[in-house]
């Protein structure tokens, strides 16, 4: 299984500020995924990040709000911009190890005041 780490593990931020979340994988992967899990809810895919190209965003998510970087095959960042309390969620990155197995990081727990 893949080893995925995320930083920070949790943060409390003020509205209007931005937070960048880092995701590091222990081996090279083509695709990395970013999900949001709002309190008491399921996971929703924000975007798919391929190295060397722009991220592909899902409906309801835009690059200006959630800019993503993918500088190499083991690392990605997700920025939550101009935060509001509605952005309080767990943000998770994941990678595919095979077609049918997607592994998740531990998540970043964000609270926006």
């Amino acid at each position: 299984s893949a080893v995925i780490s995320q930083k920070p593990s949790r943060d409390i931020c003020q509205r209007g500020t931005s937070l960048t979340i880092q995701c590091q994988v222990d081996s090279q992967v083509t695709m990395m995924f970013w999900y949001r899990q709002q309190p008491g809810q399921s996971l929703t895919l924000i975007a798919t990040a391929n190295q060397g190209s722009e991220a592909t965003y899902e409906s309801g998510f835009v690059i200006d709000k959630f800019p993503i970087s993918r500088p190499n095959l083991t690392f990605s960042t997700l920025t939550v911009s101009n935060m509001s309390p509605e952005d309080s969620s767990i943000y998770l990155c994941s990678v595919d190890r095979s077609y049918n197995e997607q592994f998740f990081g531990p998540g970043t727990r964000l609270t926006v005041l």
């Binding site: 695709m31 995924f33 008491g40 994941s94 997607q102 998740f104 531990p106």
Partner: protein, 111 residues
């Protein structure tokens, strides 16, 4: 730790009993169905998957059943243990690498 299942349906079972967690999916074109377990404060953990051309698959203490006629998926856990307490999510793979997650169910195991 933080609970992610505050608004999710709950299944309470006695330790040693069997658990059945159900999930309805929406897209008949999905080619894989996967069950994940999420413990408090952690990311989802892969449990078992099933291809759309199968109706049953067994793992260690877990069985997944797929009924494509009614678009229903279930996860059966045999001899449920306290360590099985978690939130369980089903997910559909809709071609390519995109996963769509279901609502989730909290499983509470009573000792």
């Amino acid at each position: 730790g933080e609970s992610v299942g505050l608004h999710l349906p709950t299944l309470s079972v006695q330790e040693g009993d069997n658990s059945i967690i159900n999930c309805a999916y929406s897209n008949s074109a999905s080619d894989y169905f996967i069950w994940y377990k999420q413990e408090s404060g952690k990311g989802p953990q892969f449990i078992i998957d099933i291809r759309s051309n199968m109706d049953k698959r067994q793992g260690q203490r877990v069985t997944v059943l797929l009924n494509k006629t009614v678009k229903h998926l279930s996860l059966q856990i045999a001899a449920t243990q306290p360590g099985d307490s978690a939130v369980y999510f089903c997910a559909e793979r809709r071609g390519g690498n995109k996963l769509v997650f279901g609502a989730g169910t909290i499983l509470r195991v009573k000792s």
